[in-house]
Symmetry: D2
Subunit: 278 residues, 4 copies
């Protein structure tokens, strides 16, 4: 039904919905579904429209710019399919889930390659014919390590970089190059248990639920805009190791959900928050 | 922030959002939040708009009718506060929750009176100064019983009738008089375990979750449009009586949630379904 | 079915279950349900047994002590019904839920009185014929304030003190007098957002779920043993005020659940954690 | 920590826990965790014990039989690892999840082979080096079709047969040969929407949640003992196709969870119900 998605973000003012929907109607474009939100604190307008017909994207963006504030951010169905690069360390669960969906064309994006600082997950990648690049962090300094990764990434020009349990902290320089493009899965319900070993922290605190958080990466560790979060109950009988195991299920599910939302143009980022039009 | 709510339902066609938002803009009305949905199966358009400023409701409805299909259903902030009558039998949990919220003015509606076919809950009503009418179903035939209830209801002209664990089945004639106005809480996740003694049925089937469903009442028993549903996990150790107890928590929560949605003009009914703009 | 509950906590060693169940069998007592857990980190044994028949509690405790390590903690169905005192400030939702359950005898405990540092909730208490004591914190220093509360509490000798949205921090001296007896509801999924204004913190962080935590009070603020936690999803469209409102539902539910677990002798405390036999 | 699991099911009588734990203690076996349940309706006793040390299984079973009723069902850590055969049709999601866990040795069982009435999923099996048998149901009558499958199954002597979205109904004769050994995932929260096309049924009913149920297969279609169930919320905006997609996530999760419980000896079957010691 939906042939095109229009996403708009700008300063709020009276008449925006009218201006946008009027422009669409003039082009003979029917609105299947429309989500709009105004952040009154920041006086900011967000909209996502499913359109029934296709149209020339550049033309439509131009027509919309004519009736909207000058610094409006408009994307018209940015890409038929996103391209992604996945960074991992040793844990397989999130990566395998991504590879399976990619293989069966249900990911909403196309995995270009996988980069890892260990060789553990090379085998699973080769089983799905996905290029795997081992970039060791051990012989190199952080600068060299990231340079090498960036070389690989550049060759694949991804729309997004997915950290699917990548256990190294990326430098501000690296992150700056991929603003709003790096998605991470953190194994706690942030802001609880930021940083290292969240399940150990959760175990010691005796919590009754553990969680996972998918977020965009910024230079504040585990502080970037949150896309999705979920929790599962745990009991006194869970050891820290049991929490790690149980947590894997929720990490996989939350990352899958966040990626689907992002790849489907449902996530708009502003300052340190996301607007998610589900 | 929101001063007025506009709810619109009509046959879908190109340009509806533009026509509506254009009309609002012309009146100097700012859209705080807008939810729109088109049911492609039925080619039906649904919209709910939060407006920042107040305006004359009748005038605005008229202006909207001028630019929309002739059989469009429009309500502009129908009532500052809904009036309700609550029907109960013997169980207290849903009623007490409603009475407490009503007392503290957080129900979104005003309880006019409570009607019951037993006197059990008279005491709790009187503690909250809510008129209680005992209408026995025992000495009267069904027709007389419902007549008596209807007399009481008519005196209070409610917007909605809430069946908060009312254990009698209402006749088609009664239901016909209050189309889309009667809200019931059924103690199962419909369509599982419709009819009598759902927890007994659930116990015997050995399910691992039980639920509750809030729905509008139609003349198909437990078949009306569903507003909200929720479940809780149960285990082998639950007796049917334990399920009844555990179920009360979820019945209370689901009914409270459904009422909040309805009273806040977030529920649009069409055929046997609801569109819920949360 | 269950006539008696036996709760046991001691150092772990081989043969404990055999010793306990042997003792019960010798007394002709049938085990309806048994939950046992050993914390291997601390080498600590926890058990809760539902017994089908009644027996003399003191006699049974003595017989059990004879076959168990000398510092074992044994309680045999401590009380047919617990007595509680509830401390509140201004918010009604948790208190009203407790009062309703108390009124209908489904709380599992008996509310002796309510103490508050404001008079806001006096009315609802009087509607349920529950003694209400206003103890102002304004004219008195903290010592005097707590002294006054303690006087009231002592007169009612409660098993537990429930902080049902009591917004003052209790002094170490006060807490020390009621070890493992004070239960608090904190309006966040701890350890996230400890301290003041958790919903404001949650709003600013842009989380996608908010929660509530019921815990025993110790002298580490919001650091006591957690009994129960739960969360609800929120979206970008929630203001901090919306979160406060939505949070009330979950606070009420979590505190109700925690109280049911505690009053039903299902919560064993050890160090900073709880063992919860649901 | 746990070296051995003991699972016991028998008629209830006084002294069972004592007899069992006494026997274990005499053998110097320490109980790490013990779960016991008595079904009072059926007067049936169920127990699962985690034991810290290993012992000779046959010897221990014999010693336990000496102190327990003569028709007691005892299993001592039945197998270090279960063997399974997976039956599928065309949908990949449950199978791929099983294959990934199998590949990384976290399934708790070992996949011997996959049988399908279509060739669609041959490719994914070969990527994981798992034997794939295509057994067409088209050229053969049902008897021949099942015979062929049974031949393959017999060669692999599995402990369990997993129907991971196998869309054919098995005959009573087939099911009778594998009592309590066939596990199915049904794509609804049973008993709602049993039979064909549950998501279509759910869509037409306008439910606000959809679910999945893992159960043992008996000769009553979709009526066997339920192991695990879970639901996810849906809204008016879900088409039947959207429900199918969303449902896949929950089907995968529920089947994975049920398999983990079964393979970990946590599921005891009696009549048409399960006792699940999580």
């Amino acid at each position: 039904m939906t042939a095109m998605i229009v996403v708009i973000q700008c300063k709020d003012q009276v008449g925006l919905v009218g201006a946008i929907s009027g422009t669409l109607a003039k082009e003979g474009l029917n609105i299947v579904s429309l989500r709009e939100y105004v952040d009154k604190t920041d006086n900011r307008f967000f909209m996502r429209v499913d359109v029934e017909q296709e149209a020339d994207a550049a033309m439509l963006e131009q027509k919309l710019h004519q009736v909207l504030p000058h610094d409006t951010i408009i994307t018209v169905n940015p890409l038929p399919e996103k391209k992604i690069v996945v960074l991992v360390t040793k844990e397989y669960h999130c990566l395998a889930d991504i590879l399976v969906r990619n293989h069966f064309k249900t990911l909403g994006a196309s995995v270009q390659c996988v980069i890892s600082n260990h060789s553990t997950l090379q085998n699973i990648c080769s089983r799905f014919d996905i290029p795997f690049f081992a970039v060791s962090h051990e012989q190199a300094d952080k600068g060299r390590f990231e340079e090498e990764m960036m070389d690989v990434i550049r060759q694949h020009s991804p729309d997004y970089i997915v950290l699917a349990k990548f256990m190294r902290i990326l430098s501000p320089g690296f992150v700056a190059k991929f603003q709003k493009q790096i998605i991470n899965i953190h194994h706690s319900f942030l802001p609880a248990f930021a940083g290292a070993r969240p399940y150990r922290q959760a175990f010691e605190r005796g919590v009754k639920l553990i969680g996972a958080t998918a977020h965009f990466v910024t230079n504040e560790l585990d502080e970037g805009p949150i896309i999705a979060q979920q929790i599962i109950p745990v009991t006194h009988s869970f050891t820290a190791a049991d929490m790690v195991e149980a947590g894997k299920e929720i990490e996989t599910a939350v990352l899958a959900r966040a990626l689907r939302l992002v790849f489907d143009d449902r996530v708009l980022v502003y300052k340190n928050k996301t607007v998610v039009f589900e």
